[in-house]
């Protein structure tokens, strides 16, 4: 695997477990076993790293969503698979979705990274909305009256669930927070 990819992999893990401001190029250098200056060769500034991270993450995540659409015919099954994605990202409260991890970063991200982040949110809700619309048609999820509102709400709920699990370092908090959605699946 090339150095660039290894750096992104380790940086993603660090950003998601400690927050983007919670690791330094020194930490990244340690975990990839190269020197700090070499990290700067690949990513001159941390701002460059943030952009590369979120851009890659968005592509990979969208692929997964499309995979769900192809594998699951019903809206209920798609929502459950969506929750699986975020459950995995939460990793028992040890980790956050990269999007959440960067969203809560204090230090100003470069405009390009902020735009990627906004695009990520837009893409995910844009994927969710037709899922809830499908639910109205196939009846595999109860009480859907406004697919657009449901899409926003579901995203907020999984993001909040990750935060709660992380604060308590307790995986069951995530489950408790999404239970109301799971229970609506027929």
């Amino acid at each position: 695997m090339d150095t660039q990819t290894r750096l992104l992999d380790h940086a993603e893990t660090l950003a998601r477990t400690r927050g983007f401001d919670g690791f330094s190029f020194a930490d990244l250098a340690l975990s990839t076993e190269i020197r700090k200056a070499s990290v700067h060769y690949h990513f001159p500034a941390k701002a460059d790293l943030s952009l590369a991270l979120i851009a890659r993450y968005r592509g990979v995540f969208l692929e997964k969503l499309h995979g769900i659409s192809q594998a699951e015919p019903t809206a209920g099954a798609r929502v459950l698979a969506f929750l699986d994605l975020y459950r995995a990202a939460s990793d028992g409260g040890r980790s956050l979705c990269l999007c959440v991890a960067l969203s809560v970063t204090q230090r100003a991200l470069p405009d390009a990274a902020r735009a990627e982040l906004a695009a990520f949110h837009r893409d995910v809700t844009a994927w969710l909305e037709p899922v809830f619309r499908l639910a109205q048609a196939d009846g595999s999820l109860r009480h859907v009256t406004d697919p657009r509102a449901e899409a926003s709400a579901a995203m907020a709920q999984v993001e909040g669930a990750q935060i709660m699990a992380r604060a308590a370092r307790d995986a069951t908090r995530f489950e408790a927070a999404i239970q109301s959605l799971v229970a609506r699946v027929i």
Copy 2:
């Protein structure tokens, strides 16, 4: 107003707008117009400040919740008032509830602060659960089947809504993310 209180007020604002790691004692000294060393006199380490902040915040927030219970007789009205609290805390995407701001902090909080944070989450969901139970009795909120699950979900939803509004610096994201809950009020 005494210095201690002024320090806590400014520190709370800074923590909620920039994140707890996003301000330094130097920033706090600047905004309160005393010297950095004097800040250290009141709060020897930043860990002490985190604990004082969350402990005070929990008390104040619980007071507000009790106020809602007394002022609003129906479950629907209580949920709307609860949302008002978080809408105000979000301040158009410029701010976060202190609890969220500290929950997403990268740097390890002292155990006592972590315990306060967990207690805050526990207290709020403990307040929400009987509200949803009341909804089942008074019919002022649609589709409540599991008050306990609803309490967890509502908390996740408002926390996630704050994160989304903050990431986009856009107040309408908060509204969009809680719309599904608002629409359930009769």
